[in-house]
Point group: C2
Chain length 226, copies 2
Amino acid sequence: MADMSPYCYEYPHPALTTDIILFTLRHDVLSILLIRRRAQPFQGSWALPGGFVDMDECLEDCALRELAEETGITGVYLEQLYTFGKPNRDPRERVISVAYYALAAYDQLAPVAGSDAAEVAWFALDDLPPLAFDHADVIQLAQQRLRAKLDYSTVAFGLVGETFTLGELQKVYEIIRGEALDKRNFRKHILSLGVLAETDATRSNGKSRPAKLYRLAHPGAVQYIK
Amino acid sequence: MADMSPYCYEYPHPALTTDIILFTLRHDVLSILLIRRRAQPFQGSWALPGGFVDMDECLEDCALRELAEETGITGVYLEQLYTFGKPNRDPRERVISVAYYALAAYDQLAPVAGSDAAEVAWFALDDLPPLAFDHADVIQLAQQRLRAKLDYSTVAFGLVGETFTLGELQKVYEIIRGEALDKRNFRKHILSLGVLAETDATRSNGKSRPAKLYRLAHPGAVQYIK
DNA sequence: AACGATAGTGTGATAGTTACACTATGTCAA
DNA sequence: TTGACATAGTGTAACTATCACACTATCGTT
């Protein structure tokens, strides 16, 4: 018994995990990536990717590592969301989960089921399967946060590629806010923020006039705006 | 040895604490409550109130309990801020800290040093002593968050009493934003939010014309506005 | 009764937001 | 090659919100 449980403490310690809500837009639908659990508890249920924090890694590194291990995905934008710690979240033992949300452009992603995942799949946010643990709550909070940050930060740029057309960007805003936006007003607004730079390339969707491509003037961190 | 460390796990577990940044306005200065540590590590240093999470209590309850135990303070507004988890935050072992910030009106508070605290004192945010652990970072983030939330929520009401004059409320905004505001514009704005209710009482500061007292129309949760 | 202190009140200028419709340029099919 | 389709790209006027600004009212104090 002691051989199987060699990590001993004077006081009880909880287990610590990270969970990742990876948002993307696929076929004009806001979606997240879920894995089907290979292990107990909730074996066979859909759940957020995530897992236990190693003792020598920081929380953010853990989130990135788990996402990579379970889904093969790397290089996404990541931000801490909230820490969930109710006593009976997990039937095995006390587990604290630090939730992160991640954003990426769909065509830059190629998820592959990894070690702890029997399967990996995208789900539209309004068509989620039954979820393990309290992951439904986690996802709902993430969606709220994403919507709120649209208005005062540059999060939206995390959901498009490195270069993008204003039409693509407008679609991101429309889908997350759930309402149509006026094209001229949107362009005026977004250009006035001063965070975009023109490129001299254009992109055609194959059916119509090609659109000018833009990129972030200062790529990297999400900025607060206004 | 095993007798001193009876809580054993198959994998290593971190310790889990909460820390609380309790803001108040005292003598027109934004201040927080610190305790002087009675125990190692950082014995004798100033630190945020906080402590280890019990295995059967949720994170928020822990924060409230620790605040009560160490400072005697109860009944404050509390909100999760961020979770700090770098591997070497604490020299003893891996410690994850879920930080909460709290708000209260100064005259409703009477801090008293409790069990783990040798001393409890208010410090102006721009005149903090050297702090234990990474608490200086925690406080800085809390201050940023407080300032940001002023503009899109009703947090400011957490720093005044149950009833308050518009002059008092304006002072809260001015101090947190660090700039003077126009009285007429402030009143127009705050009343237009529709979150205030008049009372028919007034309050005099003893030196001048008494001011009408207001209260929150829907006390309780901090609301998002605009 | 005069003074000091804070409460309380409105208006005009400016800036930001909204509503709204047509031309331009590409692809595709006949 | 030309016409139909799809999306890109563009300006203006009405409306709304924000900002700057100064005086009167009412209390306590001397």
